[in-house]
């Protein structure tokens, strides 16, 4: 699946976009975040405070308990500040 990062989440993670194949026991967004945090300091920094992390599964705003099975694209970003 494709992972996307925006704004300071992108800067801390050190990447804008990547293709990953998480292990089978990674079932929801929360699991995915835990798994990402094991992949390096950048991810650990990006996801250190989950209260300021928002996510979208296949371009829809989603909660952390959203299942990721079948998802093509998951994005992580701070609360939006447009307008």
């Amino acid at each position: 699946m494709k992972l996307l990062y925006f704004a300071w989440v992108r800067q801390k993670a050190g990447t804008a976009e990547e293709d990953v194949t998480p292990p089978g026991d990674v079932r929801d967004v929360a699991d995915l975040i835990s798994w990402l945090k094991t992949r390096g300091e950048g991810y650990e920094a990006a996801f250190s405070d989950l209260s300021v992390i928002r996510c979208a599964v296949d371009q829809e705003h989603s909660e952390f308990d959203a299942p990721i099975a079948g998802a093509a694209e998951i994005a992580f970003f701070p609360p939006v500040t447009g307008g």
């Binding site: 925006f6 371009q59 701070p78 609360p79 500040t81 447009g82 307008g83």
Partner: protein, 146 residues
């Protein structure tokens, strides 16, 4: 109608295009947001999530049209590098009656502020920082849920 673009927009031209050929329109409300020049910001960078942005803006527009009797709506949001005084966003709601136009424009902005995936980074001198989301924007959105 929704557009995401780097170019500026002209409010008068947008309103004229929107009202043309729609004789039932009696009231047009526009909101435009500008880069404020406070605290010495030298420029601002608008990042967005291509694809999801368009989907969210279209959804917000559909929701507004379901709630109020509107003849036309428009959302234009700029991305990329902007300077103090530059336009950021334009929202237009046109209706037969002014109350629907005012309510819809306000609703469109409140939802855009909390749902549309845009992020602002301010540059001040040689420093830059990402703008924090404001709690008041969440509260503004929540008031439409009653």
């Amino acid at each position: 109608m929704i557009r995401v673009q780097t170019e500026d927009f002209d409010i008068g031209a947008e309103v004229a295009a929107l009202t043309k050929g729609r004789p039932g329109i009696g009231a047009v409300v526009t909101f435009s947001g500008l880069v404020r020049d406070t605290g010495g910001i030298s420029s601002m960078e608008l990042e967005h999530y291509p694809g999801m942005t368009e989907k969210e803006l279209a959804r917000i527009e559909t929701e507004a049209n379901a709630r109020w009797p509107l003849q036309a709506t428009l959302i234009v949001h700029r991305v990329g590098k902007l300077s103090p005084g530059d336009n950021i966003v334009l929202v237009v709601a046109a209706s037969s009656h002014r109350d629907a136009a005012f309510q819809a424009a306000s609703f469109l902005m409140d939802y855009l502020k909390t749902r549309a995936p845009f992020w602002k980074r301010e540059e001040t001198g040689d420093k830059s920082h990402w703008v924090d989301a404001r709690e008041s924007d969440d509260e503004a959105t929540a008031k439409w849920k009653t």
